[in-house]
């Protein structure tokens, strides 16, 4: 078959002799379609699923180990009559907070990796040049980023929920039955959902920072700083506003849902706002830059 007769016959049939004068045919790049395209991109990369697997294994694994470790320390303390060094506040008289905080905070590495996943969704396009294809297909640009955000929310959301629920169920399973927290207990479901929300917030933070920086290395560095380094480091200086800042980092906010003993620096509404802020502000800034910048 000659190329002349093969090139045509596309979605609108051959355009021989009528080039440029045809109607747009079956519609344009609507948001649902762009979401479909972005999902195809994410789902057809092996690295996506490798990262998801690592997040699941690490998130659930570390939380399980943490639950086991804390329960062992408690048991030892109980027999010796001492509060274990570095143990949770409240000692062996452990309440729900004493179980929820160590178990759920152990998913922070998984949250960081979800942030990397969110970042890679956009930075890998800049690294490989795929962004050119993306923006020529969606020249209005914002639908492409909104679609990426939706894909990240759904993928990270499912993974975060699985990790958070499994972390609680497995992590808490080592505690004696009479004190063990369950999903039916007051505030426990909120703590688990809050933890998942924190993970999704970090994933969107990754996407936002990735859009701003357009570099994988830069994005990972900033994520590690915000998620891992800042919370323990900032209070060290003893400066009030730095301490306050550390309490408002993404994972401090998501952990506040687990602090059922009233030790949280702020309430549920504030925590939700902090998480939404981390998810949305960098993304919105990235969106503005994406619209303005040369690709």
């Amino acid at each position: 078959m000659s190329s002349t007769s093969t090139v045509g016959g596309g979605p609108r049939g051959s355009r021989r002799g009528v080039a440029g004068s045809q109607s747009t045919g079956s519609g344009g790049a609507s948001l649902p379609r762009v979401v479909g395209g972005e999902w195809t991109k994410v789902a057809t990369l092996r690295s996506t699923w490798v990262l998801v697997l690592v997040v699941l294994v690490l998130g659930i694994g570390v939380a399980t180990l943490s639950g086991w470790g804390v329960s062992q320390a408690l048991e030892a303390a109980e027999t010796s009559g001492q509060v274990p060094p570095g143990g949770p506040p409240g000692g062996f008289q452990t309440g729900p907070t004493g179980q929820l905080v160590p178990v759920l905070s152990s998913t922070s590495l998984a949250a960081l990796l979800l942030g990397v996943l969110g970042g890679l969704v956009v930075t890998s396009e800049y690294a490989t040049g795929t962004i050119t294809a993306t923006l020529t297909a969606v020249p209005r640009r914002w639908p492409a980023l909104v679609a990426k955000a939706l894909v990240v929310v759904v993928l990270a959301g499912v993974v975060a929920l699985v990790v958070s629920f499994a972390a609680l169920l497995l992590g808490a399973s080592f505690f004696p039955e009479d004190v063990r927290v369950g999903l039916g207990d007051d505030g426990v479901l909120g703590a688990v959902l809050g933890n998942a929300a924190g993970m999704v917030s970090v994933a969107l933070l990754g996407l936002g920072v990735g859009t701003l920086l357009r570099s994988t290395a830069g994005t990972i560095t900033l994520l590690v700083a915000l998620v891992f380094v800042a919370p323990p480091l900032l209070p060290v200086f003893g400066v009030d506003w730095l301490t306050t800042a550390s309490e408002h980092t993404p994972l401090s906010a998501s952990l506040s849902f687990a602090q059922l003993d009233g030790s949280a620096p702020y309430g549920t509404t504030a925590a939700v706002l902090v998480l939404v802020g981390w998810a949305v502000v960098p993304l919105a800034a990235g969106l503005v830059l994406l619209q303005r910048r040369d690709a």
């Binding site: 080039a19 045809q22 790049a29 690295s47 795929t130 020249p139």
Partner: protein, 321 residues
């Protein structure tokens, strides 16, 4: 149809595209020629709305690119061939783009077959050769069956078979009534494919002409003669209507308006001794080199004497020094 009007792009103090205006009409292949760094790729990025012009306007298919709601159906472009995630398969890459505009998967398989990648469609792009990458880029450009096709250096990395394939493809696309813009830094390549030429250098328009016209211009071939009686020969040649000028020494003449045979006959008839006589036919390539001589981004110090080289060869030489 592609229309550039006063298109200008500055990066700081450097002007990459300088007040460029040209039109690419449907039904023909327009070659976009210029040395490396002439602003061809930048112009294409401006046409596609990837970069914003400092001033001027670009319209593709009657609208600014950004205003198209289904741009892949209007304009197909190949910018950088390897701009695909190496971990994704060719088919997945095309499928993702097709989905954004509701192009059916059937069309994806169609363009894969058209460019001859069916056998490797499900392989990861990371393992592709440069030529396979180019073919995937062309498949991407043709995905939406667009009225305007824009290809940046499509023959790069293709083997002779592939080059021939591209030529046939481009002509076929134009014959179907599409507007085709193909950039290249090789005149020899464009001479065989393009109907029309837009030549740029340092971001400026140097020529907007048909290949036929440029060929006609280059037919003005000269005859070089070396003779100890050059001055006398010049007078005799004027008698038969030929114009001659002294070049590179008093005994050398460059004759216009007479063939080498005619010059020899005049000399023989009047007993003028000739030391050298040869016809110098100028090629399209030379016409292009002459056109772009002053605007090549990188040149050897004696750039004017490297006429035989291709611009990229010159560039490589310049860089090596």
């Amino acid at each position: 149809m592609i229309e550039a009007r006063g298109l200008t792009k500055r990066y700081g103090a450097k002007t990459a595209v300088d007040d460029l205006s040209f039109t690419v009409r449907p039904g023909s292949v327009t070659g976009f020629l210029g040395p490396n760094g002439a602003g061809k790729s930048t112009t294409m990025r401006l046409l596609l709305g990837l970069d914003r012009p400092t001033s001027g306007e670009a319209r593709v298919g009657g609208k600014r690119y950004r205003e198209h709601r289904a741009p892949l159906r209007e304009v197909g472009a190949l910018l950088e061939a390897r701009a695909v995630h190496p971990g994704r398969s060719a088919r997945a890459h095309l499928l993702a783009l097709a989905r954004t505009e509701g192009i059916p998967a059937r069309r994806v398989d169609e363009v894969i077959e058209l460019v001859g990648l069916t056998g490797v469609a499900r392989k990861r792009v990371g393992g592709f050769s440069l030529g396979m990458g180019q073919r995937l880029g062309i498949a991407t450009a043709l995905l939406g069956d667009p009225a305007v096709v824009m290809l940046d250096e499509p023959v790069n990395g293709l083997d002779p078979d592939g080059v021939l394939w591209i030529r046939t493809l481009l002509k076929g696309l134009a014959a179907e009534g599409r507007a085709v813009l193909v950039s290249s830094h090789l005149m020899s390549e464009m001479a065989q494919t393009a109907d029309h030429l837009v030549v740029v250098g340092r971001g400026k328009l140097l020529a907007d002409t048909s290949v036929t016209e440029l060929t006609a211009r280059t037919q003005d071939a000269a005859v070089t003669v070396r003779s100890p009686q050059a001055a006398r020969l010049a007078v005799l040649l004027r008698g038969v209507g030929a114009r001659s000028t002294t070049t590179g020494g008093a005994d050398r003449l460059e004759v216009h308006g007479a063939t080498a045979a005619q010059v020899g006959e005049v000399a023989g008839r009047h007993g003028v001794v000739l030391h050298e006589l040869h016809a110098r036919t100028s090629t399209l390539e030379e016409a292009y080199m002459a056109l772009t001589r002053d605007s090549r981004e990188y040149r050897t110090d004696d750039g004017a004497r490297t006429d035989g080289d291709q611009p990229d060869g010159t560039a490589a030489e310049g860089a090596a020094r």
